[in-house]
């Protein structure tokens, strides 16, 4: 589904992502883990076109998407959420989702119709599926942190992605919120037949739902495999998992 070949990115001499190759098969749930600064977010930014790779290729369903701008990659079927929540703060919750639907369906060039008449049912259905139907009229910037994360997921889903990249979807959440969010993600990924790639610090979450785990360390891919394999990897235990495993 998503394949990365020998991807490399340096910032002024510092190697952020170093020769990483990775394959994620269709409808898999895969996690990228690693200590802070291991290159996880840079890796995501290279896939989604927010950064240009020095070398290497990114393939989506066999198609080379390396170097395409973010808005085009989004339209090709990759959705993403960001580490710091990324919503449209001054629009209402409903308008956030509706805007994403309008953009995805290519209505942005319509100068004439009233935007509020578009996709009311679709937007409400999406809000319901991420559990925000009660907050449709609220200004998005005033939502609680957990709600903003839910909204961000809704925005990402509005562009009907086949691959969804989530950068720390549960960062800053309480244990209960984390549990609910991961449950929600698992359900949505199943319903929509999504391929899910996410970064996460909470090892309980990672080993709870991921089918494949990639471990990053200092920009390199240290190990990749099933949770069982990764847990058994001596190098991973030594460098990263430590007491947690």
């Amino acid at each position: 589904m998503l394949e990365v070949r020998r991807l490399r990115k340096t910032f002024a001499g510092f190697v952020a992502v170093d020769d990483v190759s990775l394959r994620v098969s269709a409808q898999a749930i895969a996690a990228v883990i690693g200590p802070n600064g291991a290159g996880k977010t840079t890796f995501f930014n290279l896939i989604t076109g927010h950064l240009k790779a020095d070398s290497g290729t990114v393939l989506l369903e066999g198609r080379d998407i390396t170097g395409a701008p973010p808005h085009r990659i989004c339209r090709m079927g990759i959705g993403r959420s960001f580490q710091r929540t990324n919503i449209f703060a001054r629009l209402s919750v409903f308008e956030n989702i509706q805007a994403a639907l309008l953009a995805h369906q290519g209505h942005g060039r319509n100068f004439w119709s009233r935007s509020e008449d578009f996709y009311r049912d679709e937007a409400n259905a999406l809000l319901a599926s991420v559990g925000l139907e009660e907050k449709a009229r609220t200004e998005a910037g005033t939502l609680s942190y957990g709600n903003q994360k839910q909204l961000e997921l809704g925005i990402a889903l509005a562009s009907e992605p086949r691959v969804l990249l989530l950068d720390e979807p549960t960062a800053g959440m309480s244990a209960r919120e984390t549990h609910e969010t991961m449950h929600l993600l698992e359900r949505i990924a199943g319903e929509r037949k999504l391929t899910l790639l996410f970064t996460e610090h909470d090892m309980e979450v990672v080993f709870g739902i991921a089918q494949r785990i990639a471990v990053f360390y200092q920009g390199r891919l240290l190990a990749e495999g099933t949770p069982h394999e990764v847990r058994a990897d001596r190098e991973v235990r030594r460098i990263y998992l430590g007491a947690a495993a």
């Binding site: 989604t48 927010h50 701008p69 973010p70 808005h71 989004c74 339209r75 959705g79 993403r80 960001f82 990324n86 919503i87 449209f88 703060a89 001054r90 629009l91 308008e95 509706q98 805007a99 994403a100 309008l102 953009a103 995805h104 209505h107 942005g108 060039r109 319509n110 100068f111 004439w112 119709s113 009233r114 935007s115 509020e116 578009f118 009229r137 925005i155 509005a158 562009s159």
Partner: protein, 331 residues
């Protein structure tokens, strides 16, 4: 209930209401009032065109007067030098300003924030320098005096219009054109295209990742804003009986920026309110003192701290607070 109410409020054709309220001015007020009214109406269109960038797309332009100026010159030169009719010169002013905005915007949207703002300023200074120095076409520091009025004699046939002066007729004529322009701008802002612009204002990074080509949309907004500023400029050249390089000086960009912020850039009708208040205050205060800039500065200072959402923002939050009090009493 409240959602039905707000839906109803959205359906009030405000442009038409304000147009009808402003229309009788030549019959009710003095010639000077009509003069001020024309200036306010033109400034209102100019400021709303700026707000398409500022309040809707989140782009700060320090050089919006360039497009106003291009429109004024295109219309003035066509009518005065070449004797072209207003019916052609007016749309040509919009197209000319849009083309120049396309050129300038193409460069500007490649930069962000303060660099974007500085580049808009640079382009407006280029326009000013050309206006000031290119004697053969722009008349240089002499400008283009006595741009003719469009032919408005047909108005005399309308009931009640017989006794109106040319200035009064031009006020009504401008009001119609400005109302149509504002209705178009309002339509654009509330369209799906306008919604995409608001996503760019709130979060350009995220906007790109719902599939919005941020630069292309910014450029489209820039061109549209330029076109409407050009139309305002065309009317101004006729209203002021000439087109001069002073119009394009950068301080005019600051003035329209102040109008927009004063009225409230978060509201469609914020900039027109700002234009109304600024022109009226200017008139009132300059009759007492020559220190108008001092009062303007002091007023802005108070406003920015007391009503960061502008005058309409202040009214809006005051109204919400009142309604809350009311609801509290009901309960």
């Amino acid at each position: 209930m409240s959602s039905r109410k707000s839906a109803l409020r959205g359906r009030i054709p405000w442009t038409l209401v304000i147009f009808i309220l402003a229309l009788p001015l030549p019959w009710l007020g003095s010639r000077y009032d009509t003069f001020l009214g024309t200036q306010i109406a033109i400034d209102a269109l100019f400021a709303v065109s700026l707000n398409l960038l500022l309040g809707v797309t989140g782009l700060v332009s320090f050089g919006h007067v360039a497009y106003f100026g291009v429109g004024a010159y295109v219309c003035g030169i066509l009518m005065k030098t070449y004797g072209v009719s207003f019916a052609l010169a007016f749309p040509a002013a919009g197209v000319g300003a849009a083309l120049f905005a396309l050129l300038a915007g193409y460069c500007c949207v490649r930069l962000s924030q303060i660099y974007f703002a500085m580049l808009t300023l640079a382009f407006s200074q280029i326009v000013w320098a050309i206006a000031y120095k290119w004697n053969a076409v722009t008349g240089g520091d002499q400008g283009i005096p006595e741009v003719p009025y469009p032919n408005l004699h047909w108005m005399a046939a309308l009931p009640g219009f017989g006794n109106l002066s040319t200035g009064d007729r031009f006020y009504i004529f401008s009001l119609v054109l400005i109302a149509i322009s504002l209705a178009l701008l309002r339509r654009i802002i509330h369209s799906p295209f306008g919604r995409m612009l608001t996503t760019i204002r709130d979060n350009p990074e995220r906007a790109a990742f719902i599939g919005v080509n941020v630069r292309a949309y910014e450029l489209a907004a820039f061109v549209l804003a330029g076109a409407f500023a050009g139309l305002a400029g065309a009317l101004y050249g006729i209203f002021a009986r000439g087109v001069f390089a002073d119009y394009v000086f950068w301080s005019r960009s600051a003035e329209v920026l102040i109008m927009t912020i004063l009225g409230g850039m978060g509201y469609f009708w914020g900039p027109p309110v700002g234009a109304l208040v600024l022109v009226w205050l200017n008139k009132e205060i300059t009759t007492y003192t020559e220190y108008w800039p001092f009062f303007l500065g002091a007023m802005l200072l108070v406003l920015l701290f007391a009503f960061p959402g502008g005058l309409l923002g202040g009214l809006h939050s005051g109204w919400s607070r009142l309604r809350l009090l009311w609801a509290g009493r009901d309960a």
